[in-house]
């Protein structure tokens, strides 16, 4: 079954790619941090605490984007029986999970000095916490359901259900009154972040995307081996 997408070929390529990517990532993070911490200006109301944005916003994007991939992969898996899809999703899950936690923790650290509170149960914060639990459920279903076929099915259902939560997170700030401010970056309109702050944000985002991709490649490699071993032991 795995011959179709020749994991061996991918595994051989992996190490060379990963080394180049790690080098690239370090360079981009160095540049991004210099911009984020020194070159970019403080905000006109928030002062220096706006710099938390350069971690918070990319983390949230990656947390949402990763689950979108997991959800789509789950659909491809359940409906079209594309065997590689759930494997990719399985390797992405821990990355999205960590970034969803990072988003919440950095948001909390940002909320205290700006809003005056660590946490509130408004629609944005609550739906983001729900995403964390979807990630957890997805990861746990792979880990603790012994029968691989069943784990595959259960995790995909969780992935599809979690997909419905994504528009709720994205549009919660427009549909309901929340403490969290509306989105500064939208698909349809120009950003309401000044370009001096948008530059470090974009660089940090790129760095985190490359980081995620590196972890994905490593994780994917390990997951292929784990699945092979579990199949043999069954």
């Amino acid at each position: 079954m795995f011959k179709k997408f020749s994991p061996n070929k991918l595994l051989a390529l992996n190490n060379k790619y990963i080394r180049v990517l790690i080098f690239l990532m370090i360079l981009i993070f160095l540049l991004g941090l210099v911009f984020a911490l020194f070159i970019s200006p403080p905000d006109y109301i928030q002062g220096d605490s706006v710099r938390i944005m350069y971690v918070h916003v990319p983390s949230s994007f990656i947390a949402l984007g990763s689950f979108a991939v997991i959800g789509l992969a789950s659909i491809l898996n359940l409906i079209f029986k594309i065997k590689i899809a759930p494997l990719i999703a399985k390797s992405i899950a821990p990355i999205g999970f960590i970034f969803s936690i990072t988003s919440i923790v950095s948001g909390s650290l940002w909320g205290k000095p700006t809003w005056g509170i660590w946490w509130v149960w408004d629609a944005r914060l609550t739906s983001m916490l729900v995403l964390v639990f979807f990630y957890l459920a997805y990861i746990i279903s792979w880990k603790y359901i012994k029968d691989l076929e069943k784990a595959n099915r259960v995790s995909s259902i969780i992935g599809i259900l979690g997909l419905l939560n994504l528009p709720l997170i994205k549009y919660s700030v427009d549909w309901w009154s929340t403490l969290h401010q509306p989105s500064s970056i939208n698909f349809t309109s120009s950003s309401t972040i000044h370009y001096t702050m948008l530059i470090p944000l974009a660089i940090m985002f790129l760095g985190m995307v490359i980081y995620s991709f590196i972890i994905f490649l490593m994780r994917y490699k390990t997951d292929l081996m784990i699945i092979k071993i579990r199949k043999r032991n069954n």
Partner: protein, 141 residues
């Protein structure tokens, strides 16, 4: 292109998806009062009945020239530019709390126009810019 089985799975999936979206919309519509984090002064004004002396949150802008600071209490007016509510509060306000900026107050309504806050939160908007740009914008206006 698609096999028969894949087609029937797809039809089933679309049906389930459509149903669950409709259910979600209805659930959130009926829960609206619980999902919103705060009410605007106009929403309070338009409510047919309001629960007095019960925990509630109201939000809007701090009206300019309405903020009165005393030793350890403040009073100000929350406005949504249509209706206003007078708020009193004892305690420390967040750093970003100031006139003309967003605010959310948690506490109890004494009547439709008077609110005693137990907690004050500062709400900021989606605009981020350096102080010089803000000054330049203010000058231009």
């Amino acid at each position: 292109m698609l096999g028969k089985k894949a087609k029937s799975r797809m039809a089933f999936f679309v049906l389930i998806l459509a149903t669950s979206i409709v259910i979600t919309v209805f659930v959130f519509k009926s829960l609206r009062e619980n999902v919103v984090y705060f009410f605007s002064p106009t929403e309070i004004y338009n409510k047919p009945s309001i629960a007095l002396n019960k925990k509630i949150r109201i939000g809007g802008l701090v009206k300019i020239n309405s903020l009165i600071k005393e030793q350890n209490s403040v009073s100000f007016i929350i406005t949504d530019l249509k209706n206003e509510i007078i708020v009193t509060y004892k305690g420390i306000t967040p750093n970003l709390f100031s006139e003309g900026k967003g605010v959310i107050a948690e506490g109890e309504l004494k009547d439709k126009k008077y609110f005693v806050a137990k907690k004050i939160l500062a709400k900021h908007d989606e605009n981020y810019m350096p102080p010089e740009v803000y000054k330049a914008l203010e000058k231009a206006n």
